[in-house]
């Protein structure tokens, strides 16, 4: 589950349980050949609310003006984005599902397994789609099994290092730089920690959720490790690289005691805003909270291991669904393509504080404007280049994420040793996948 979308939804949707769920489109199913002039209705579940939903509505209206024979039935689909999965599952059971739906990247594998998605692999090869402008991670998420492309990227994000200037000034330390290694990071965190006053150098979630897990991947990758074996059927994180990565985090949490171990996924962000935690690794969704809280902060890319500063990204997608109707399939595809083209993406993602989807937008005036009102935004935009590996979105990943999440949170709370804990988690993952 991409934290960005979840947080964005939390921020935007706070209290808005609105989202009455419109029934799915019951447009007459035409089984004939494609007729782009025919009256067609497509159902779109946006997963958005409030400001973001308003922007979506404006864009849908524009699309309808461009194509007068197409009606876009736009609704949030569910009361919050993470409820969409259950709605889709129920929709499949009742044969009433949308043509286009927002979906967290982690669901991609399941959606593909449902057999209800469209495959647009051939269409996105056309040069005018400029598919390669999306990051590799975003493209990979839309292609969970490696073959079928089930939709377009919807939101991209990445993780960088946010530091609290107030606490750095108080401790008399220099601000982090692009060139930092994790050892620099660890030393600074130790100096910044003031246990008497409950001030911590770093914050890490030990809830065992995907938040715990995905923060670990940059460490694993930078040390040369990988999540799955090449065939994607076995866990590969229980390696020297994995042990090294977890030993590093353990030394901060257990030996230095410089880490605030968050039992929820949300507190460390709030404590950073209120000057209790000096550094967090988080994404662009944090910026609006920081602005509201008046926190003095800075952003740099993640610290590196031997000069490797790669980070992790959790892209979400617009999933496209098959209704055995060529017209609906055509317009669902066209709508998603149009929505994710630079002109529209600026009015949606960039306007609501998400990163631009395409590399071609990085220097656009919309991005510059956003960076002006949210300092650090431009660092995250540039940090997209440091997304080298794709977080898997296969069905097996959900299993793996749960097991390694448990192992990480146990070790960071002083139970067990990194090597054996990871080996045990890998064993459990493998046996569940084999079942």
């Amino acid at each position: 589950m991409s934290t960005l979308s979840r947080r964005a939804v939390l921020a935007l949707a706070a209290g808005a349980g609105a989202a009455s769920v419109a029934g799915c489109s019951r447009g007459s199913a035409s089984t004939g050949p494609l007729d782009v002039k025919a009256k067609t209705t497509i159902e779109v579940w946006s997963g958005q609310s409030d400001a973001a939903q308003k922007k979506m509505e404006a864009l849908a209206t524009k699309f309808q003006q461009k194509h007068s024979n197409v009606t876009v039935n736009l609704s949030p689909g569910a009361s919050s984005t993470d409820q969409l999965l259950q709605k889709l599952s129920a929709g499949f059971a009742g044969n009433e599902y949308p043509d286009v739906s927002y979906a967290f990247g982690s669901w991609a594998g399941q959606l593909e397994a449902s057999g209800r998605t469209l495959d647009i692999a051939d269409k996105v090869k056309k040069p005018d789609v400029k598919w390669s402008e999306f990051t590799a991670a975003a493209r990979g998420t839309a292609q969970p099994g490696g073959e079928k492309v089930i939709g377009f990227p919807a939101v991209v994000d990445n993780v960088g290092l946010l530091y609290n200037k107030t606490l750095f000034d108080k401790a008399g330390l220099d601000y982090p730089t692009d060139a930092w290694s994790w050892d620099d990071f660890k030393a600074a965190a130790k100096k910044l920690t003031d246990s008497a006053n409950h001030i911590y150098g770093y914050g890490y979630s030990v809830s065992g959720s995907e938040e715990t897990t995905w923060q670990f991947w940059p460490h694993l990758w930078q040390n040369g490790g990988s999540i799955f074996t090449a065939d994607g059927k076995k866990a590969a994180f229980a390696s020297d690289a994995g042990t090294k990565a977890l030993t590093f985090l353990r030394s901060m949490a257990v030996d230095d005691k410089s880490v605030y171990l968050d039992q929820t996924d949300t507190k460390f962000g709030q404590l950073f805003v209120s000057n209790r935690i000096a550094m967090i690794t988080s994404g662009p969704w944090q910026l609006s909270d920081l602005k509201t809280g008046g926190t003095k902060y800075g952003v740099v890319r993640l610290p590196g291991t031997n000069g490797d500063h790669q980070t992790v990204s959790g892209p979400d997608i617009w999933a496209l669904f098959d209704h055995h109707d060529k017209n609906r399939a055509h317009w669902a595809y066209e709508f998603a393509r149009w929505l994710t083209a630079p002109g529209q993406d600026e009015q949606f993602n960039v306007a609501i504080g998400n990163l631009p989807l395409r590399t071609s937008e990085a220097s656009s005036s919309a991005v510059k404007k956003e960076a002006k009102s949210y300092p650090g935004y431009e660092v995250f935009v540039a940090n997209s280049d440091n997304v080298k590996n794709t977080r898997p979105t296969t069905k097996n990943y959900a299993t793996l994420s749960t097991e390694i999440g448990k192992a990480i949170s146990a070790v960071l709370q002083g139970q067990g040793d990194p090597g054996p804990a990871l080996a045990d988690a890998a064993k459990k993952t493998d046996s569940q996948i084999a079942n």
């Binding site: 399941q110 449902s114 057999g115 959720s209 039992q263 146990a410 139970q415």
Partner: protein
């Protein structure tokens, strides 16, 4: 409805039974009235309880992730539960919680009820104040407890700091988290038992107590020999009720610890929620739900049978 013309027609065919049609019409009317009263409730119960329960039983015999086609696996989910260390841990946690919560909430409720069962000034206010936490939703109680018991920034530890006492880790400490959950659920749980006991205490005939006092019993003896036996049926009800509540503990855990730290507060219901809705193992989660259902049924039947044997079947 289609029956009506038939009934009206009948007198012509069978003239000997003159009184029959009106009576049948009346019976039909009564039946219809009855059904119209219970109809909505029946639809709701069948639709929202019995049907899902039946479906969950089917699910518990399947392997289903909500998207791919389900596969029938027979009793495999149940077999897997037997050897699942995480499920064992959840059962232990639930039993531990029940053993702490049920006696504590019953005794505390009894104590508060006796304390509130007297004529003093502002008694209405005190009774309301005790009952309010029961009305508050568990979600808000949970959020409140995260503010109270945060080890670094919580109110409880701030007070302890001021009086120079050691400050425990509370919700962040695997050994103490369940205790905090018990304390917070007692807040609402004891309010419920208090109200029940208060009502029962007011049903104790005053002449019995007077007679005991006249016979020379002191207040302590009066309570345990006269009042307490009168409260026994209510106590059995309260114990069963609180036990069912305890076994189904979920909301407080969900809003405070999410089963952590290190699974120390993962109850059976939280376990099955996590399996079904996070890991998307709907079959496995349903199997856990059915094990819980069986356990609840056994306990309830056991307590009822036991209490009937002791001759207090009027619960």
């Amino acid at each position: 409805m289609v029956v009506t013309p038939d009934i009206v027609d009948r007198p012509a065919v069978n003239p000997t039974a003159r009184t029959h049609p009106t009576r049948r019409l009346r019976e039909l009317k009564t039946a219809l009235t009855g059904w119209s009263f219970i109809g909505p409730a029946t639809v709701i119960i069948v639709g929202l309880s019995i049907f899902p329960a039946g479906w969950a039983l089917v699910l518990s015999l399947q392997d289903w992730d909500g998207f791919s086609p389900a596969t029938f696996v027979g009793a495999r989910n149940y077999q897997q539960l037997l050897t699942d260390a995480d499920f064992g841990n959840a059962v232990l946690n639930t039993v531990g919680y029940t053993l702490m919560f049920v006696p504590a909430s019953v005794l505390l409720g009894l104590f508060l009820a006796v304390a509130l069962n007297r004529r003093i000034r502002f008694i209405g206010f005190y009774r309301t104040a005790i009952f309010v936490p029961f009305v508050a939703s568990a979600a808000s109680t949970g959020i409140l407890s995260t503010y109270l018991f945060s080890p670094q920034f919580g109110l409880v530890n701030n007070v302890l700091r001021v009086v120079h006492l050691p400050q425990p880790g509370w919700l962040d400490n695997p050994h103490q988290a369940m205790l905090v959950v018990v304390i917070m659920s007692l807040w609402g749980g004891a309010a419920f038992t208090t109200v029940i006991y208060l009502a029962a205490l007011q049903d104790v005939p005053p002449d019995l107590i007077e007679a005991a006092l006249v016979d020379g019993a002191n207040r302590w003896q009066t309570f345990w020999r006269v009042v307490w036996p009168q409260l026994l049926p209510v106590t059995i009800f309260v114990v069963i009720w609180q036990m069912i509540q305890a076994i189904q503990l979920f909301d407080l855990v969900y809003t405070t610890t999410r089963g952590g730290p290190l699974d120390a507060t993962t109850t059976i219901v939280y376990f099955l929620y996590d399996k079904a809705f996070h890991s998307l193992q709907f079959g496995y989660g349903s199997a856990a739900a059915y094990v819980l259902f069986a356990a609840t049924l056994l306990i309830t039947t056991g307590v009822v049978v036991y209490s009937r044997r002791r001759g207090s079947e009027d619960i």
